[in-house]
């Protein structure tokens, strides 16, 4: 009897260790990274041209020059490595990050319900916890120029009222290509006490689902721009493993996807407003329209918003709820197919099939 119990316990232990082993990432990547890192002992004194406060996408040289104390921003800045998950579970932070950067879990700025930006109170507390005030220069970065976690966080900061928000153009990939140093030690922010303005300072940057419906019905100059893949726009797939219905809000136009590199130059940096203008023209819109960008849950849409923001456009916003929130109400009107074509089908969410989740 005892033998049987002991052997059962052994089996359970072996099974548990096998499962745990499957979930553990091999540390080969980390070791490779270590080898390629620059030595911290090198003295850096990079100088780069100053940029406007409203400039968002900045070069690795500019970021290093801030760290080296050669910019106005050097006196009060925070660098955020933006990705989903807790710090310990974020290899983009633990395997090497920009010196002094803090990890920002995107869940910190988004709430579970619709993955919309959290309440003003929550965002203000988050920023204060990170030592950010409205006057702090905040430099966000993600894995590369395509992953939009940093753009999402940057957008939330601008909405809240931070006046000087940057994104490292090309992300960590560009940083590594430039050969600037990284570190693996965790950095912890020192909390600030006062943010300095009411959050959100720019509520107009976000449109609610009801505001979108109202503008689509009553404002001829308003354009709801889908920043999703063509297959998502045409209703062939929801684009997400957890969303079963596919389609677009009725009246939306296509503005190309950011995930396929349409908003990146060959070197991974962000494109200019001219490219956004070209995409809009394909759908019969222009930079003169009132533009509201959306995607699935608000990450991809942040990129064209930021591109136009840094180019001085103010007729822009984000419909934060995206397709995720739109498809949760059976009565919402939906288009399937290209609205410029004759075969576009108009229906409601309730009539959509539930087999369009991304496989």
């Amino acid at each position: 009897m005892k033998k049987r119990i002991v052997s059962m316990l052994l089996c359970a232990a072996v099974t548990a260790s096998l499962i745990a082993g499957c979930g553990t990432k091999p540390n080969g990547d980390a070791e490779d990274n270590k080898e390629t890192k620059k030595k911290d002992t090198e003295v850096s004194d990079v100088k780069a041209d100053a940029v406007e406060k409203t400039k968002v996408y900045v070069s690795p040289d500019w970021v290093q020059s801030v760290i080296d104390g050669n910019q106005v921003e050097s006196s009060d800045y925070v660098i955020l490595e933006c990705s989903w998950g807790e710090e310990a579970d974020s290899p983009s932070y633990t395997t090497g990050h920009i010196k002094g950067a803090y990890h920002m879990n995107t869940d910190g700025v988004e709430s579970d319900e619709y993955w919309n930006i959290r309440t003003p109170e929550e965002i203000e507390k988050l920023m204060l916890d990170y030592g950010i005030t409205k006057d702090t220069a905040v430099i966000c970065y993600g894995e590369n120029g395509v992953v939009s976690a940093d753009d999402r966080v940057a957008f939330a900061l601008l909405w809240a009222g931070v006046e000087n928000v940057k994104c490292l153009d090309g992300g960590m990939e560009a940083w590594n290509d430039a050969g600037y140093p990284t570190e693996e030690e965790s950095s912890k922010p020192k909390a600030a006490e006062e943010f300095g303005t009411t959050v959100p300072a720019h509520p107009e940057y976000i449109l609610s689902i009801d505001e979108v419906k109202d503008k689509l019905a009553n404002d001829g100059n308003f354009k709801l721009v889908s920043i999703r893949s063509e297959a998502e726009f045409l209703g062939e797939t929801s684009g997400y493993s957890y969303i079963e219905k596919a389609g677009e809000p009725e009246g939306a136009i296509w503005g190309h996807d950011t995930d396929d590199g349409s908003y990146n130059n060959e070197d991974g940096t962000a494109v200019g407003a001219d490219v956004v203008e070209k995409y809009l023209a394909e759908s019969g819109a222009s930079l003169e329209n009132e533009l509201s960008f959306y995607c699935g849950t608000g990450w991809r849409a942040a990129i064209p918003f930021l591109i136009l923001y840094e180019n001085g456009y103010s007729n822009i916003s984000m419909y934060d709820g995206g397709w995720y929130q739109w498809q949760m109400d059976d009565s919402n009107p939906v288009q399937i197919g290209d609205p410029a074509g004759e075969d576009c089908v108009y229906t409601t969410v309730g009539e959509l099939s539930n087999d369009k989740a991304n496989k």
Binding site: M1, W84, D89, D112, E113, W115, S241, Y242, M328
Partner: protein, 144 residues
């Protein structure tokens, strides 16, 4: 036949417990999994009376567990250690399921409904297994 049924029940029970752990683990490690379980939470809560269903299942399992244990207790002289272990396992799993379901929530654990479902399956199978073991024990008692 009995042995095959028992082995199958053990496999399903182990798979349910492993499933609870795996879903919960990946819901904290993978963004896609986290969003998937949250979306399912929302869908289930919208479409089904989840709390009523859960409370009903808890009540059925707890009552079954108490009745089966009382039946075992009455016949304990004729029961072997294995039946005792089965009853102990049943009480443990039912307690874990009921405790987890009543104490935790989607606020504290994203994979709450998934974990609760898997623990419920494991507890239910253990109740059935224990019931069968108690019945066998009763047959032995009648033979004597």
């Amino acid at each position: 036949m009995r042995k095959a049924g028992y082995i199958l029940a053990v496999i399903i029970e182990a798979a349910a417990l492993a499933g609870a752990w795996i879903v919960n683990y990946f819901a904290t490690k993978k963004m896609g999994m986290a969003r998937y379980v949250i979306y399912k939470n929302q869908t289930w809560e919208r479409e089904y009376p989840m709390e009523v269903l859960q409370n009903t299942v808890i009540a059925v399992l707890v009552v079954s567990t108490v009745l089966l244990f009382l039946a075992f207790f009455r016949k304990r002289r004729y029961s072997g250690k294995w039946t005792l272990a089965m009853n102990a396992g049943m009480i443990t799993l039912t307690s874990v399921y009921a405790g987890y379901s009543l104490v935790s929530s989607t606020e504290t654990m994203r994979a709450y409904w998934f974990v609760s479902l898997f623990l419920g399956i494991a507890a239910a199978i253990q109740v059935i297994k224990t019931g069968a073991a108690n019945l066998l024990c009763g047959e032995k008692m009648n033979e004597k």
